[in-house]
């Protein structure tokens, strides 16, 4: 049958006809082969226009129809329906050509526009005869709706959906619904309070049985299509369970404070918080980030942020409890730890790291250790005995943690005292023995048995302990053997190794100290030995170190203290021989060194300078160049392997040695290291030993160290506060005695120092809230909850952000105290805000304090709106809320308050708006037509606003006490991300784009996804609510129809052509193509295919085709365009 084509061209009033000579186009079409009807009409989309088409189809037996009018995105559906009514398959019969958007409107010249129209009409006429009949598929519609965003738009839409009996899933990112509207005070033009009209909606979405409210929740991905979406959401952990009663007891004890986001930082909140008293759900939330770098760095994993925060609020015993969860020797390590944590402290981005170590000592010094509470633990059976060799930090720590778990540890210590190196190697002026004793006593009170003066070895091998009933053994004997220097006369009288010297002194044994002493080495032991010698009566103490000062491993402030006390440092000097006379030391021959290439430790290797030998006179020489492990106590024990450095070999994770049941840790395993590492080792050993005793796999389910770097941002305007200086004993009072040199912080100093913490992890996990909560609703280990929701339609109501005006420096926002943004002013005026609704100025010193009411206020319109440098659009709400502010100021601060409105034009277009404008004007508000150009602040905080009054052509300068900036409404910063998730578009202004600016204001290019509220463009509350109701109606229409037609333009693979190469399978973004192994070809699953044509574009044999976009159809169009 030969084709009978009808051609219809629209004038579109004059929109097409003013540029395109439509009659000429129709005349051309009439000459085209197959065209039997060619007509033009004024409005083809109108009823008579559609009638004309339908009649011609019937009267002239048309088989194909081409309409040349507007864009197919506008009226393709209209004309397809007309063709269908007239009995044609619209996909086969109809094609549309855009001679308006792509013709008359974009072409200046009439001849050119007409010529272009003829060419594209020709292409359309050639295409249409190649089209095939298609039938849209029908799918059922899930009646539920997802609403994204819990502001007034989202709440209204959810309630409308719910009232129909269908389910609405309301997803909100913040911990409460409400949105910007609930931050406001009054609403224009009726001045009813936002809370009065907004909170009932909040309560309703919280209670309606057809609304599933999901706060703290984000949409992660969306799959499916109209009527059948699958949405993956992630409910972020808020660490408070749903049985929270909202009593607020937790917030009262929380030591961490942060500016409240809901109050835009005008008020503080705690780390466990509720945004505002009327929040829905009335359920607290904890702001928690990754653990701070200090916590991550501490080898023992002490919750540093936790105890620091508790010191800040004066809760010292609680602070100590936090420390002792991970470390039983706080007073001791608080004095001697080199504090690796401090090197990572983020406060140094401001000025210097927190004095974490000294704060730890402060906490330990505040309590009476004799009365310190011993936690009750479930005591294990008496046979669960563990032997520990060595009462140093590793041994004590392992014993402490085992006792905390209820086991029965016994420590065997060779020396007549406990403490190991802490006692033996550290002088009393740094660590008074009483401090160590009280902590060891506490460990004993925990149930640890310490047996002193017990040697292990040949007579009582370690392995025999198992026969004595111990079920596991921990080796923690340390590294106490001094390393030799290997130089001439090293064993002469007058040479005493540093560690032995300190040990004898600490044991209060008589030691003969020389008059002139030389100490060799640059570590802590060397420094301690030198300072000890001074206290023992040496008149001259010299330290010899082979590298330079920056390479000295000793704690920096200890080096400084030594120098202050008069100790001389000989740097870049190495001893080569001990000089003797009659077997006694008389001096030390040294050679000067210089620094060469870096060695494997990263430090530059010292190399001798030839011929630079010199002698140092002395009568005592103390080498302190390091220690080694002494494993003589393992004599008689077979099967414990050693490393080539002489340390005990053990697994790096479980610390078990090659002898099952024997574990090792501390210096014994690592070689000489710092005490806190030994404490950490003890902690890990206790975990391994418990697992060993329970018969569990040692390496599995061990606690993981916290990691990550998603920390709280450091506020930009943090006040620089220098690090607290540790008060010390005057130098003159130190020599010749053992008084403690560092005196410790006063309470005031400690609390001030603690308050410098920048709360990296937000919540400090002190867990005071857990103890307070009677409902037991707090769960610090809560994890995110992911789920998939099935819905048929989606409403996006993600709202807007008020622009931050700090980049417009001419207005001084952020530096001038009394320049407010509109939202800040709303919070001031709101009864739940920082001033309980009073309109007050900020204190010039403290921005969180508010003082007196302003006598004069300037309100600046269009800040960031109608401004080519920021946003060209009008934010539509500012004029009206500026009038509202003027009214509120007059109302709350007195009628004599001077108010100046700097405006460009007043846009009071809504119902009752103009009347409100008149009313406010009659209250005596000054209106100045002209945008304010700049603000300056004088020393008293008075603000001078400069601008031009364009009505009187004068420059004006007005002095006021407060300025309010009416900032632009702008798209959310993550709009791009939302756009991609939901497959919608963004307009040039950054807001989501509706399908049509007038006729489809809530639809998007993705069917089934609708827009509501300010995410689509700036709008006020009435318009937002109206649009929300519109979007809800769209969803309900869909649900009520119950089924949906999906366009049939999807892919199909010609089974006769497909060779089964499966190239298309890898390309399909929806995995819609499957390989039929039986037939050896690929096949399209039409329920999944969306018709992108990736397969069609790539197939080497041309087997897949997207229906309605086949090669033949496209080729015909190309031919039509290029026909000569």
């Amino acid at each position: 049958m030969s084709e009978r084509i009808g051609f219809f061209i629209c004038h579109c009033g004059i929109n097409i006809a003013y540029r395109v000579r439509v009659k000429e186009v129709a005349d051309y079409a009439a000459t085209f082969p197959g065209v039997v009807v060619s007509k033009d009409y004024l409005f083809m989309c109108s009823d008579p226009g559609q009638d004309l088409i339908e009649k011609e189809i019937k009267n002239s037996d048309l088989t194909r129809v081409v309409v040349a009018s507007c864009s197919p995105r506008m009226h393709e559906k209209t004309f397809r329906a007309a063709c269908q009514r007239a009995g044609l398959n619209p996909y086969r019969a109809f094609h549309m050509v855009s001679v308006r958007e792509h013709g008359s409107w974009v072409t200046e010249n009439e001849d050119e526009a007409t010529a272009k129209a003829i060419i594209i009409v020709r292409a359309g006429l050639m295409r249409v005869t190649n089209q095939n009949a298609l039938t849209p598929s029908q799918f059922s519609v899930n009646p539920n709706t997802l609403v994204v965003g819990g502001g007034i738009a989202g709440m209204q839409a959810a309630l409308d959906i719910a009232s129909s009996g269908n389910r609405a899933y309301l997803v909100e990112r913040q911990p409460t619904v409400g949105g910007h509207m609930l931050q406001y005070d009054k609403t224009f033009p009726t001045l009813d309070c936002a809370a009065c009209i907004g909170t009932p909606k909040m309560v309703a979405v919280g209670q309606d049985k057809n609304v599933t409210l999901m706060t703290n929740t984000e949409v992660e991905s969306v799959n499916g299509f109209i009527g059948n979406f699958k949405v993956n959401v992630n409910q972020l952990s808020r660490y408070v369970k749903s049985n929270c009663t909202g009593c607020g007891d937790c917030a009262k004890v929380c030591p961490v404070e942060a500016p409240n986001e809901w109050d835009v930082g005008t008020k503080m909140r705690k780390a466990i918080y509720i945004s505002f008293p009327q929040a829905v759900p009335v359920r607290y939330a904890i702001e928690k980030k990754d653990r701070g770098p200090c916590v991550q760095t501490c080898p023992a994993g002490i919750n540093i942020q936790g105890f620091v925060a508790l010191i800040k609020v004066g809760k010292y015993e609680e602070a100590l409890r936090v420390i002792m969860e991970k470390m039983p020797l706080p007073g001791t390590l608080g004095r001697i730890c080199p504090a690796p944590c401090e090197s990572q402290c983020r406060r140094q981005e401001v000025e210097s790291p927190l004095a974490i170590c000294q704060l730890k000592r402060f906490a330990a010094d505040q309590v009476d250790w004799e009365k310190l509470y011993v936690p009750t633990v479930e005591i294990k059976n008496e046979s669960e005995k563990v032997a520990i060799i060595g009462a140093g930090p590793a041994g004590l720590s392992a014993a402490y943690f085992l006792a905390k778990k209820g086991y029965h540890p016994t420590i065997f210590e060779k020396a007549p005292f406990a403490g190991g190196m802490l006692r033996f190697g550290i002088p009393d002026y740094r660590l008074p023995p009483a401090v160590l004793d009280q902590e060891i006593n506490y460990i004993k009170r925990m149930g640890v048995d310490i047996q002193l003066g017990v040697s292990m070895g040949k007579d009582r091998p370690v392995s025999s302990l198992f026969n004595e009933g111990f079920k596991a053994v921990y080796l923690a004997a340390g590294a106490q053997k001094s390393r030799k220097m290997n130089i001439e006369n090293e064993d002469a009288d007058g040479v005493m190794h540093g560690i032995d010297y300190l040990g004898q002194l600490n044991l209060k044994n008589p030691v003969k100290t020389g008059r002139k002493v030389v100490v060799v080495g640059g570590g802590d032991v060397a420094i301690d030995a030198a300072r000890e010698a001074l206290r023992q009566g040496a008149s001259q103490v010299t330290m010899v170190y082979r590298r330079s000062r920056s390479e000295m491993p000793a704690v920096k402030h200890e080096i400084q203290a030594a120098e202050e006390e008069g100790i001389k440092l000989e740097l870049l000097v190495n001893p080569i021989a001990v000089l003797t006379e009659g077997g006694k030391v008389t001096g030390l021959r040294c050679i000067k060194m210089e620094l060469g290439e870096p060695d494997e430790s990263g430090r530059r290797r010292p190399v001798p300078v030839a011929g630079s030998e010199f002698d140092l006179e002395c009568d005592m020489m103390i080498p302190a160049i390091g220690q080694q492990v002494n494993t003589s106590f393992l004599e008689g024990t077979e099967g414990v392997e050693l490393t080539r450095w002489g340390t005990v070999a053990a697994d790096a994770v479980t610390f078990q040695t090659s002898f099952p049941g024997i574990f090792a840790g501390g210096d014994m395993f690592t070689g000489p290291s710092i005490a806190v590492e030994a404490v950490a080792a003890g902690q890990e050993a206790a975990i391994s030993i418990e697992k060993y005793l329970l018969g569990e796999e040692l390496a599995e389910n061990r606690p993981v160290k916290p990691k990550g770097s998603d920390w709280k941002a450091i506020p930009k305007k943090v006040v620089v506060t220098p690090r607290a200086k540790m008060p010390v004993l005057p130098v003159g009072d130190r020599v010749g005695n053992y008084k403690e040199v560092e005196l410790g912080f006063t309470e005031e100093e400690a609390r001030k120092e603690a308050s410098r913490c920048v709360d990296c992890g937000a919540c400090c996990e002190c867990k005071l809230c857990v103890d307070q909560c009677k409902a037991e609703a707090i769960d610090h280990d809560m994890t995110d909850k992911r789920e998939t929701i099935d819905v048929g339609s989606i409403i996006i109501a993600t709202g807007f952000d008020p622009m931050n005006p700090s980049k417009m420096t001419q207005y001084g926002y952020g530096s001038y105290r009394n320049v407010f943004t509109n939202i800040e002013f709303e919070r001031l005026s709101n009864a739940t805000g920082p001033t309980s609704g009073k309109l007050l100025k900020r204190d010039m010193q403290d921005p969180m304090k508010f003082t007196t009411a302003p006598k004069s206020v300037a309100i600046l319109h269009c800040i960031g709106s109608r401004d080519v440098n920021h946003h060209e659009y009008c934010s539509r709400t500012c004029c009206m809320y500026a009038l509202k502010y003027a009214h509120l100021l007059k109302d709350k601060c007195g009628h004599d308050t001077e108010i100046y409105n700097f405006y460009i034009d007043m846009r009071c277009f809504g119902k009752g708006y103009e009347e409100f404008y008149k009313k406010v004007q009659s209250e005596g508000v000054r209106m100045i037509r002209g945008k304010a150009g700049s603000i300056t602040e004088d020393a008293n905080g008075i603000l001078t606003v400069k601008g031009e009054d364009t009505l009187s052509n004068r420059l004006v300068e007005i002095q006021v006490e407060m300025v309010i900036l009416c900032t632009a409404m702008e798209a959310r910063p993550n709009a791009d991300e939302v756009m991609r998730k939901f497959g919608i578009g963004i307009g040039a202004d950054g807001f989501f784009q509706e399908e049509h600016p007038k006729l489809a204001p809530v639809s998007t290019p993705t069917s089934g996804v609708f827009l509501a509220g300010a995410c689509q463009g700036p709008k006020d509350i009435p318009d937002t609510v109206a649009q929300a109701k519109g979007a809800a109606a769209e969803c309900l229409a869909l649900s009520s129809a119950g089924k949906v037609e999906v366009p049939p333009m999807i892919s199909s693979i010609d089974p006769d052509v497909c060779v089964g190469c499966q190239l298309c399978i890898g390309l399909c973004p929806y995995s819609a193509i499957e390989f039929n192994t039986f037939a050896g070809i690929s096949e399209v699953n039409s329920a999944i295919c969306k018709g992108c044509g990736s397969c069609a574009g790539a197939c080497p044999s041309g087997a897949p085709k997207v229906r309605h976009f086949t090669d033949k159809q496209i080729f015909a169009e190309i031919d039509g365009i290029l026909l000569n």
Partner: protein, 142 residues
């Protein structure tokens, strides 16, 4: 003799560039009439043979308009288009058709002004290059 008017065939993605062309219209941004638009669902469905066919039929230039990387309505069709365009460009060069005649541009639905700029620029460029070397030589029967 009148000025040479290049013939440009444009394949525009329905979701971005085609919509941008509509927006250019509603914004009354005029551009040369040389560009004739063929609507496709995705730049990723533009088969190389469409491009070759257009040149064989006498087009002086071919323009493909797709969504910005990451914004594809079909996840990643535009990236497939980008790969394919790179290959087709090589092929065109071997046939003696300069790569300046074959353009791929990312134009979002909101970028009506950009569409105009590209149309202006491409028309001007092709006027400067003159007619395609295949002009009137390779008419191919459909």
């Amino acid at each position: 003799m009148s000025e040479f008017e290049p013939k440009i065939v444009a394949f525009f993605c329905n979701w971005c560039t085609f919509t941008a062309a509509d927006l250019a219209g509603t914004s009354r941004l005029s551009y040369p009439p040389n560009i004739k638009i063929i609507r496709v669902m995705c730049s990723g469905m533009v088969d190389p043979k469409y491009v070759l066919k257009a040149f064989l039929n006498g087009a002086d230039g071919v323009l493909i308009g797709g969504c910005w990387p990451g914004d594809c309505h079909y996840i990643n069709g535009n990236l497939k288009a980008r790969r394919r365009v790179a290959l087709v460009t090589e092929l065109l060069k071997q046939y003696g058709i300069g790569e300046e005649r074959f353009w791929l541009r990312w134009i979002a639905a909101s970028e009506g002004n950009m569409l105009k700029e590209v149309a202006d620029e491409m028309t001007a460029k092709l006027k400067q290059l003159g007619p395609s070397p295949l002009q009137n030589k390779g008419q191919m029967a459909v």
